[in-house]
Amino acid sequence: MKTKLALSLALFGGSLAASGLVWAHHGGSEYDTKNLRTLKGTVTEYYWANPHCQIFLDVKDGSGKTVNWGIETLAPAVLKRAGWNPQLLKPGEVVTVTIAPSKKGTPIGMIRKLVLPDGKELTGGELGERPPQQE
C-alpha cells in the first residue's frame, strides 16, 4: 500500500515559526525540528531540481558502518537566494550538515545548515521575510 504524502506541520524556529512550512515529499515523514542532528559525511550525489534539491551523504554511524543519508532542502529558487548553486557540491567532497531528522528514524533529514569543505557556512534558505530585529 502506498503511503500518501504527509504535510509536515513542523516549523522552523524563530521568525520562521510564523512563515515557514516544510513538507516531506516522501514516506510520510515529518521532521523533528526540536532535536537537530549534525552529520559529517562524503557527498555521493547532489541533485539540483524542483520540487526540492537533495544531498546524499555517506555517513559513518557509531559502529563504523556507513549509512547513506538523504538530505532534503527547499526549492532551487529559495536556495539560490541563500547562496547555493547547481555546482556547489561534488561527489567525494566532505561536508557537514545540520538537519532536522525524520521522526521515523530513517536516514532522512531536512537541511538547516551546510558547512562546505572550505568552512563556509550556508543556511537552508528563508521562507518569507524575517522581522527586522533578527536581520
Binding site: S19, G27, N50, E72, A77, I108
Partner: protein
C-alpha cells in the same frame, strides 16, 4: 495572424501560453530595471559601514523614499510577521488555528474534510494554488503592469494571474477556474481588486479553509511606503462563512528576480524515488484521481 496557434486574441488571453507570450517583453524590461536598481543600491551603500547600520539606513531610506503609489511593479516577498494579531493567521499550521474564520456548518464540515486531505498530501496533484492560497504561501510574487491589466507572477508553481484594469465588466461566459476572474480599479491611492468565478477546487489557505464557487474576494492594495505593500483581503462566501471576514497581509519589495518553480508530477516522482533508495519506504500516491477534493463545494 489568425491561423497562428500562438496568436493571442483577447478571448485566448487567459491561457498560460498567451499570458507568457504577452508578458515576455514586459518581463525583460522589468528585469533590466530591477538589475539596474540593484546595481544603484549596491553602489550607493556606504563602504565600511556595518551590516547593521547599512540595514537601518536602508530601512529609514525606504520609509522616506519617493515612490508612485499607483505602481506596484517589482518583486514582493511576504512578511507574515507584520500581520495584525487577532486575525485569522493563514500560516498557523499547528492543526488548531486560532482564531478560525466564521464558518457556517457547511463550511466547518468542508474544513474538517479538507484538513484530512491536506494531511494526506494535496501537493501530489500539482493543482494550481490560485488566489488567495498562493498569496499566503511564503514565496514571492512579481507585479507587472500591462496596458490593460496588472499581471501577477507567483514564484510558487510559476503561476500567473490577470487583474483587468480596462474598465470592463465580468464577461457573460465566464469559465470557473482556480484564479477566478479579477477586475481592478483605483480608489484614490488604493487599488481595489474584485474577483469571482472560482471553481471551488482549491483551498483558501494551507490549512484547508474551503472556497465555494460563490466566493467574492475583495483586495485593497496599498503601498505603505516604497518597500512595503499592504493588502486587505475580504472573503464573502455565504455557503462556507456566516459573514465576510478579512486578513491583512504585507509584502516587502525585493531587488532579486524570481526563479522557475513549476509543479510537475515527473519531478515529484523522481524526487520521491531517490529518497526511496535511501529509506526503503513506499513513495507517494500519484495514482489517485486528483482535482476533486472532498471538501470542495461545487455548484
Amino acid at each position: 495572424m489568425p491561423n497562428d496557434p500562438t496568436h493571442c486574441t483577447e478571448n485566448r488571453m487567459r491561457s498560460h501560453a498567451c499570458v507568457l507570450k504577452h508578458v515576455t517583453t514586459s518581463l525583460c524590461a522589468v528585469m533590466a530595471l530591477l538589475a539596474f536598481s540593484a546595481l544603484t543600491v549596491a553602489q550607493s551603500s556606504p563602504s565600511g559601514a556595518s551590516a547593521s547600520n547599512a540595514s537601518k539606513t536602508k530601512s529609514a531610506n525606504a520609509q522616506t523614499a519617493k515612490f508612485d503609489p499607483h505602481d506596484f511593479s517589482g518583486v514582493w516577498n511576504p512578511a507574515p510577521y507584520m500581520q495584525p494579531k487577532g486575525e485569522v493567521n493563514p500560516l498557523d499550521l499547528g492543526g488548531n488555528p486560532n482564531p478560525l474564520p466564521p464558518f457556517t456548518p457547511a463550511g466547518r464540515a468542508a474544513y474538517e474534510a479538507n484538513k484530512k486531505f491536506v494531511a494526506a498530501g494535496d501537493v501530489t496533484s500539482c493543482d494550481p494554488y490560485g488566489v488567495a492560497r498562493n498569496f499566503f504561501t511564503p514565496r514571492p510574487f512579481e507585479v507587472i503592469n500591462a496596458r490593460d491589466r496588472v499581471l501577477q507572477h507567483f514564484e510558487y508553481y510559476s503561476d500567473w494571474r490577470e487583474i483587468w484594469t480596462d474598465g470592463r465588466s465580468y464577461p457573460d461566459d465566464l469559465e470557473p477556474d482556480y484564479m477566478g476572474y479579477s477586475l481592478g480599479k483605483w480608489e484614490g491611492d488604493t487599488f481595489v481588486v474584485e474577483s469571482k468565478d472560482y471553481n471551488g477546487k482549491q483551498f483558501l489557505t494551507w490549512q484547508g479553509f474551503p472556497i465555494g464557487t460563490g466566493l467574492r474576494q475583495t483586495e485593497r492594495w496599498q503601498r505603505v511606503d516604497r518597500n512595503t505593500l499592504k493588502i486587505l483581503f475580504t472573503f464573502d462566501d455565504p455557503k462556507n462563512y456566516a459573514k465576510p471576514w478579512s486578513i491583512t497581509y504585507f509584502w516587502k519589495l525585493k531587488d532579486y528576480q524570481l526563479d522557475a518553480h513549476p509543479c510537475t508530477i515527473s519531478q515529484l516522482r523522481e524526487w520521491d524515488q531517490r529518497m526511496g533508495h535511501v529509506d526503503g519506504l513506499p513513495g507517494l500516491d500519484y495514482g489517485r484521481p486528483d482535482t476533486e477534493k472532498p471538501g470542495s463545494n461545487k455548484k
